[in-house]
């Protein structure tokens, strides 16, 4: 393709990417290296229905003047990234120096909000992603082998968890696992422990969220694999059968190699999706036991004190995390492409 034609061909999508991806990220970068101006404070008498007190107040006019002079706020470089609510470099250093064995160091890290969120996010990503791939593949195989007339309803039912809005789905499950709910009381009966509560202990909350994650995402993997199964060459399958291959061997040596690119695709999408886990934490009211990077961003933006710089810094750290996670997969894809060209 001549360069000129290529340029005009790529221009619309390049413009769209610039506008909808590059510009927002650039603005988040700028936001993350600024904090609000020091507030001009004054002490004034405040009276309400109950009493009068002398309290501190922001001098709105004087503060507005500062804001007008420098609308972006005060530049502080990377300080927000390193403060206690993010990477907490200082706390990590002191904990490393005063560590009392590796385990206590990890416990200390877990006490810091960013690392607490990161640990759940990573566990969620690395447990849910493989399970979703395996389960999705198994559902696809099962649906593919039932009589054609039943496939439509079977596909519809299998897709339901994905159709339900994540927040609603998690709320429904939240009430079901309540001690008075269907699942909650069933679990109490099975384990013969009337005090067993999935919402009370952090490990059980984690398991509940992981199960929810698999339940919610498996249909996506199923749909992709099911589509892939329709393209498996029938000739190869038939010749394998003539050679006396069992069902397992046919899956292992014909279907699986054929579906390998799909596994990469589902894995990639799921890694990204699961790394930004958010809705189940809100839906399950789980923030006491499990938080995620996305939840921290939400909490900064909708908390009592809105912190845009903090939210921006966590957003960029999340983007960085996604890049690191996808690196192996991307490198592999890049190498494969190069090989084809060569």
């Amino acid at each position: 393709m001549p360069h000129r034609a290529f340029f005009w061909f790529i221009l619309p999508s390049a413009l769209a990417m610039l506008l909808f991806i590059a510009v927002p990220i650039a603005s988040v970068v700028i936001q993350s290296v600024h904090i609000e101006h020091p507030k001009v404070m004054e002490e004034v008498e405040t009276c309400g229905p109950f009493n009068c007190t002398t309290e501190m107040r922001v001098d709105a006019e004087a503060t507005a003047k500062l804001k007008q002079a420098e609308p972006l706020g005060k530049f502080i470089g990377l300080e927000t990234y390193f403060n206690r609510n993010h990477l907490a470099i200082d706390s990590v250093k002191t904990q490393w120096q005063q560590r009392d064995g590796f385990f206590s160091f990890v416990r200390g890290l877990y006490n810091l909000p960013f690392y607490k969120a990161l640990s759940f996010t990573l566990v969620y990503t690395f447990v849910v992603t493989p399970l979703v791939i395996v389960l999705g593949f198994m559902i696809a195989l099962a649906v593919n082998s039932i009589p054609k007339i039943l496939r439509g309803p079977a596909i519809f039912v299998s897709l339901l968890p994905m159709i339900v809005t994540p927040l609603i789905g998690s709320l429904v499950l939240f009430w079901m696992v309540d001690a008075n709910g269907v699942l909650g009381s069933a679990i109490q009966r099975i384990f013969d422990d009337p005090n067993l509560s999935l919402k009370a202990s952090p490990p059980l909350t984690w398991i509940m969220l992981l199960v929810y994650g698999v339940w919610h995402s498996a249909p996506f993997a199923f749909v992709v694999f099911y589509a892939g199964l329709q393209t498996v060459p029938q000739d190869t399958l038939e010749s394998a059968m003539i050679d006396g291959a069992s069902r397992w061997e046919r899956i292992r040596f014909v279907v699986l190699p054929h579906s390998a690119p799909l596994v990469t695709f589902v894995g990639l999408i799921q890694l990204m999706d699961n790394f930004r886990v958010f809705e189940p934490i809100v839906g399950f009211n789980a923030s006491a036991s499990a938080t995620s990077l996305s939840w921290i961003i939400f909490n900064d933006l909708f908390g009592q004190q809105q912190l845009f710089g903090s939210a921006a810094a966590t957003s960029l750290l999340t983007i960085l995390g996604v890049c690191i996670l996808l690196m192996p997969v991307l490198i592999r894809t890049w190498r494969q492409n190069n090989r084809v060209v060569a």
Binding site: V44, F50, M56, R57, A64, N83, N111, A286
Partner: protein
């Protein structure tokens, strides 16, 4: 064509004329735009619905009741002209608006149209009236008379007595989890911390600064009491907000709770509960802590403020309409929906708890601008302590560290 146009013109002129007449007869407002933003609960509906009666003719009226009003108000009022001429605020929210200078002083309007207001309804900051309060709210003690009698204990007046009463109820096998609190991680848990801390008599901040002053014996006493209470609470307590606690109460699972005054009417009504529970539900002042005399709770008020970015004409129209909204008729017709601060209101049975709490000398929720940062930090960091992962001193140090980072970013600390 011309005659058609003329007819239209005459018609609209007539309409406008009719409108003016009608509006003047409604509340005496000639013209203006009134739009009100506020939280979503029955007492506020009563007020805003009464204010809406001033609409008609050249007076346009719109309202938005939303649980998430806090999240939209800053952007809505920063616009010029503001999206809403008035916001219904409370002590926590007014500060946020004042930090950015988004609400205007009301002294002129109060002098002109506020003859019916009591002096204690005026929220004045530095001598200027910034809001007009019309109702009070506080978390206070709900108790089940029948259960306490069966357990043979008096109505608790201190948290130590709450613990012993809960133990007695548990020991007699009357209830498994006799106490319930709004301990949901986040805002609710932060509020429980602030409430309990108020009972110690300590101050949250060093005087005249945004520096925290909680890592001391007051803070430890606060945390230890919160932890002791959880022993008598449903193990899911970190997911309990007011809605859940109310449901548990109405289901008859709970005998003691420090719950919001705005929930009393909902608990007593004939929906969602049984006669056995509602007839034995009583209210009293919030308990004290550790032999102190200040109830461990904070007093809240709800009131209206008027946007800076609104014309004088609209501001006046809004003020007059809101004055109609907070008339003594509205208060007396909705006597059980809230504890009204309005002149001429006779408190109902549901208002006893808030009234007694205020009379016992409870402190108002602090109106300092950096309160939100502390409230948020406490709500996020306390769950680790309650789950038994760390001791009180570490938890307090965590709250302080989280607060410092937030307050620095917001420009309150250097």
């Amino acid at each position: 064509m011309i005659s058609f146009k003329n007819t239209l013109l005459t018609g609209s002129l007539l309409l406008a004329f009719a409108g003016t007449v009608q509006a003047e007869s409604a509340c005496g407002i000639k013209q203006g735009t009134i739009s009100i933003l506020g939280n979503d609960f029955p007492a506020l509906h009563a007020v805003v619905d009464a204010a809406e009666k001033c609409a008609g003719g050249d007076v346009t009226f719109s309202k938005n009741h939303s649980k998430d009003f806090k999240d939209v108000m800053i952007a809505a009022l920063t616009a010029d002209p503001a999206e809403y001429t008035s916001v219904i605020v409370n002590n926590g929210v007014l500060v946020t608006l004042m930090n950015d200078g988004l609400v205007k002083p009301l002294d002129d309007l109060v002098a002109k149209h506020g003859a019916a207001l009591k002096k204690n309804q005026l929220i004045t900051v530095d001598g200027k009236v910034m809001a007009v309060a019309f109702m009070a709210n506080a978390q206070h003690l709900f108790y089940r008379k029948d259960i306490l009698d069966a357990a043979g204990v008096e109505v608790p007046t201190s948290y130590e007595e709450v613990l012993s009463a809960s133990k007695a109820i548990q020991d007699k096998g009357l209830m498994e989890y006799p106490y319930a609190g709004t301990f949901k991680a986040g805002w609710n848990l932060g509020e429980e911390f602030v409430n309990m801390y108020m009972g110690t008599g300590g101050s949250l901040f060093k005087p005249g600064s945004a520096e925290l002053d909680i890592n001391n014996e007051h803070g430890v006493a606060t945390l230890n009491m919160l932890k002791s209470l959880t022993e008598y609470m449903n193990p899911d307590y970190l997911t309990f907000d007011s809605n859940v606690v109310q449901a548990e109460w109405e289901a008859g699972n709970v005998a003691l709770s420090n719950l919001w005054g705005s929930r009393t009417a909902a608990v007593l009504d004939d929906e969602g509960s049984s006669e056995e529970v509602t007839s034995a539900t009583m209210f009293t002042a919030a308990p004290v802590l550790g032999g102190g005399s200040t109830p461990s709770t904070t007093l809240w008020w709800d009131g209206f403020a008027i946007s800076t970015n609104t014309s004088n004409e609209d501001a006046e129209a809004t003020f007059i309409a809101m004055m109609n909204g907070i008339s003594s008729d509205v208060a007396n017709n909705n006597a059980d929906e809230a504890v009204w601060l309005i002149d001429g209101y006779t408190p109902g049975a549901a208002a006893v708890g808030v009234a007694e709490t205020a009379a016992a000398g409870a402190k108002p929720y602090p109106m300092v601008p950096y309160m939100g940062a502390l409230h948020g930090a406490a709500g996020d960091e306390l769950s680790d302590f309650l789950q038994g992962n760390e001791d009180a001193e570490t938890a307090l140090a965590d709250i302080e560290a989280a607060y410092v980072a937030k307050a620095k970013e917001a420009g309150f600390l250097q």
